[in-house]
């Protein structure tokens, strides 16, 4: 299954980057979101995947023993998901502002703004 996931992640990277390289403002946002998801998934995969053993200590036990999913990558990814949301939200609003203010929908036209002002 890991190989399938690795290929999937590569595919997500490719899709995200391809969209970021487009000229359209909206595609940039979509690409950013896909890329963010891909990174999280990559981290998750590399941390090692385990089926059906969540890192939760049983009611009667005092420590996690036996086979269990690694809690550390999960903690990291949880942080990463939240942060990438912050980034995406900010990017979306910022680009929308840019569109409303400057009427720019083509990223290539953003270039000229500096020089005119």
């Amino acid at each position: 299954m890991e190989i399938i996931l690795a290929v999937l992640i590569g595919f997500m990277y490719a899709a995200g980057i391809y969209l970021i390289l487009r000229r359209s403002l909206v595609k940039l946002i979509v690409g950013l979101i896909i890329l963010g998801n891909a990174v999280n998934l990559l981290l998750f995969l590399l941390g090692g995947i385990t089926k059906g053993q969540p890192p939760v200590i049983g009611d009667a036990e005092k420590l996690l023993a036996g086979v269990y999913a690694d809690p550390l990558p999960q903690a990291l990814i949880l942080t990463a998901i939240v942060i990438s949301f912050g980034l995406q939200a900010f990017a979306m609003v910022l680009l929308q502002r840019e569109y409303i203010q400057g009427g720019v929908e083509d990223l290539d036209n953003l270039k000229e703004e500096d020089e005119e002002k």
Partner: protein, 767 residues
């Protein structure tokens, strides 16, 4: 000695700020500084003579062998006295010359920094500190040449000078570092005693080359000479001080300083003879074809510097003695001529030799100063210049290598130098008064006294030469070559061959002066030769460099965001590919997985379809919906692989993202319909390659990488026992790594603030 230098820099700093308020009084006050320093160095004279050298050492950067180490020996003493002595005259002269100038405070600030650096340069006993002072003189020179900063040509000249002298200095630094590595120390006095270490080193050739480039640029040797005539755009006191009497001699100083080490090695002597000779002749011939007094003097200075380098190239005891004497002689008469030029400029408002004549009645006292300087320049008995010429001829006759050729070249150059000296010192005063001149300004004491004083000094020292020789020249000469020179200074040494040579040179020079009429015609003709000069070459190189980087900058920094991303990614691909090319750790023997369930495969399939939709759909709402699909599938994957917390977070966040996107969608532009197939293919290749690389790396890590044991198990064991929580992930986030989470929340809060303010922002429309 450190005190002397520090005093210069602090005074400069104080004057730069307080100079405005001190006014004219301040300029007189600051002139006391070089006078005081002159007396200070004089007071060290007796100690110097008895002990041979005075050493001072302050540790600075010990680990790199860089010390504030100073050494006053005979040669440094000569330079220090010249720097302070002529410095004093220039200071008081400039007080009158630049009276009421707006930026007089700056002027004295730069000048004092320069004086401090120059003193530091000749006193340094450490290569690196010497280099620092060396470059400081280049930088102050830049500011002083461009002092009249509204003058385009002055700015250009300043830049040329800085490019050449500063660049040469940098090349020299390379040589210094190699020297330090070879000798194992940066202390100059120790390097000079390291003997054969250099002769055996394979770096010897490079060291000599770097040293020569540094010194030749500083001392305006051919083909780096052209910055010096340009530098005459500076106010005359600056030209006197920096570009004639002191700074340009720094290269000569350094060559002389290291000549004991390199004399007789490889091409050292030959290079010095060759370039010194060319410079000497080139400067001399050019000088008399100029019509601007300062340009004439600039070229004779170049010529004189050539003679000095030539003397170091000969390298015998007599030659070194001749060099040291000539440094003093030249400083005295050339400074005198320059100051005279400034005074004439002040008097008549022009420096054009064709417009100056018959001034003897108007300013007799300047005429006296002019005659004295011209006589010394020509080497007519009994001026000090006579002794200088005498020793130079004697040294040239002693050489066994090309003696006749060198001698005849020196004689030829001297003919022109004598003529040029007369042109500046005497020509403006003779002949009929020029009626076309502007009304004359009266010359004040401070303008005529310094050149006159220099002239008288040269005459007095010439009449009693043994005093100068015993106290300054011999200690300095024996410091460089261990053998004391057999030649000595006598006011009258009989009718020996040297005398006759001197005599006929003077005769020839005066004859040339009487026959030659300066005119614009010659200088214009010379200009047409500039196409093949080194200046033209340098300008072409600079222009070429500028255009090249203009092109590169526009290529790389073109302002297109996508382009930047593409370049960064391509470079990354290249880098990762390079590493992958080295091979993989794992053996790629991975059996096709069969451990998956239908649910997993279905989830992945949905994801792939959603991503395809998100990429290629032309409807924005479909793209957003697909995004939601992708997010939910990831959420499912988290559930499959034992990460309930991640699944919950992903679910929440993904929902939020989609909701936000849809809310904003109304005010976002529709998809662009522009299609550029070529670009699409390029981007497709880039992104697919990058994605494939990520896949390969991920597999490589999965096959070989091992998670470091210990960290996770620590959390697993202690989550309940220490933190009383059963959900380990939660415990890590809120307890073990609580501060991290706090910072994360802060980041999110900042992003939230940003989003909020962007939404609420009602930007006033820019006019």
């Amino acid at each position: 000695m450190l005190t002397a230098i520090v005093v210069c820099f602090t005074t400069a700093l104080i004057f730069a700020f307080a100079g405005k308020y001190l006014g004219q009084m301040g300029t007189y006050l600051i002139s006391l500084l070089p006078a005081g320093l002159f007396l200070y160095f004089l007071s060290l004279q007796s100690e110097l003579v008895s002990s041979g050298e005075i050493l001072l050492n302050y540790s600075w950067i010990e680990s790199l062998g860089i010390d504030l180490s100073f050494r006053l020996d005979g040669m440094a003493q000569i330079f220090a006295l010249l720097i302070c002595g002529i410095g004093f005259l220039v200071y008081i002269y400039a007080a009158e010359y630049l009276k009421n100038h707006r930026h007089i405070d700056r002027f004295y600030g730069y000048l004092t920094v320069f004086m401090g650096s120059m003193l530091g340069l000749v006193l340094s006993n450490n290569l690196i500190t010497l280099f620092i002072f060396w470059e400081l003189t280049s930088i102050t020179s830049f500011f002083l040449i461009g002092f009249n900063h509204r003058d385009l040509l002055a700015r250009k000249a300043a830049l040329t000078a800085l490019t050449l002298t500063g660049g040469g200095g940098l090349i020299m630094l390379v040589g210094f570092i190699m020297m330090g590595q070879v000798a194992g120390t940066y202390t100059i006095s120790e390097i000079l005693q390291s003997g054969d270490v250099f002769a055996d080193s394979i770096y010897l050739g490079l060291i000599i080359l770097a040293l020569l480039v540094g010194c030749f640029t500083k001392s305006a040797q051919f083909p780096f000479h052209f910055w010096l005539p340009d530098a005459m755009r500076a106010p005359t006191p600056i030209s006197t001080y920096l570009h004639s009497a002191t700074m340009v001699k720094a290269g000569v100083y350094l060559l002389a300083r290291f000549s004991p080490l390199f004399d007789g090695e490889l091409y050292w002597n030959e290079a010095l003879l060759l370039f010194g000779g060319i410079t000497m002749l080139y400067g001399a011939i050019n000088s008399i074809f100029k019509t601007d007094l300062k340009a004439i003097l600039a070229y004779t200075t170049i010529s004189a510097l050539g003679i000095m380098v030539l003397m170091i190239g000969i390298g015998s005891s007599t030659a070194i003695l001749a060099l040291l004497l000539f440094i003093v002689v030249h400083a005295l008469y050339k400074a005198g001529l320059f100051l005279l030029t400034g005074a004439l400029d002040h008097l008549t408002g022009t420096r054009e030799i064709t417009r100056l004549s018959g001034l003897r009645t108007k300013s007799g006292i300047l005429f006296v100063a002019g005659i004295l300087a011209a006589v010394s320049s020509a080497g007519i008995i009994p001026a000090l210049g006579y002794h200088g010429k005498h020793l130079i001829y004697a040294a040239a006759m002693e050489t066994d290598l090309l003696s006749f050729l060198i001698l005849s070249l020196i004689v030829a150059a001297n003919l022109f130098i004598i003529c040029a000296g007369f042109l500046v010192g005497i020509k403006p005063f003779t002949g009929r008064p020029n009626s076309g001149n502007a009304p004359l300004h009266p010359t004040s004491l401070l303008l005529w006294a310094p050149p006159l004083l220099l002239g008288v000094l040269g005459m007095v020292a010439g009449i009693f030469p043994s005093y100068l020789e015993a106290h300054l020249l011999i200690p300095a000469q024996t410091g460089i070559t261990s053998v004391e020179s057999t030649a000595h200074l006598h006011l009258w040494s009989g009718f020996d061959p040297v005398f006759w040579m001197s005599f006929f040179t003077v005769l020839g020079g005066v004859g040339l002066y009487l026959l030659f009429r300066p005119s614009h015609r010659y200088s214009n003709q010379l200009k047409s030769l500039e196409k093949i000069s080194s200046r033209y070459l340098l300008e072409q190189i600079i222009r070429g460099t500028k255009n090249f980087f203009y092109f590169i900058t526009h290529l790389l920094q073109n302002g297109y965001l996508r382009y930047y991303t593409a370049v960064i990614l391509t470079f990354l691909i290249f880098l990762i590919g390079l590493r992958m090319n080295l091979g993989f750790v794992s053996d790629h023997q991975m059996s096709f997985p069969v451990d998956f369930t239908f649910n997993e495969i279905a989830t992945v399939a949905i994801m792939v379809i959603s991503i395809f939709l998100a990429v290629f759909t032309s409807s924005r709402i479909v793209a957003v919906a697909s995004l939601g699909g992708v997010g939910m599938c990831i959420c499912l994957l988290f559930v499959y692989y034992s990460a309930p917390d991640l699944a919950m977070t992903q679910f929440t966040i993904d929902t939020l993202t989609v909701v936000l996107f849809v809310l904003l969608l109304k005010k976002l532009p529709t998809y662009l319909t522009k299609v550029d197939t070529g670009l699409n293919w390029r981007d497709l290749v880039i992104s697919c390659t990058f994605g494939a690389m990520i896949s390969v790396i991920a597999m490589e890590i999965l096959l070989t990488g091992s998670v470091v044991e210990g960290i996770s198990s620590y959390y697993a064991e202690n989550a309940y026992q220490l933190a009383k929580g059963k959900n380990v992930v939660n415990v890590i986030l809120v307890d073990f790594r609580g501060v991290d989470t706090l910072i994360e929340i802060t980041v999110l809060a900042v992003a939230g603030l940003g989003v909020f303010s962007l939404i609420r922002l009602h930007m006033s429309v820019d006019s």
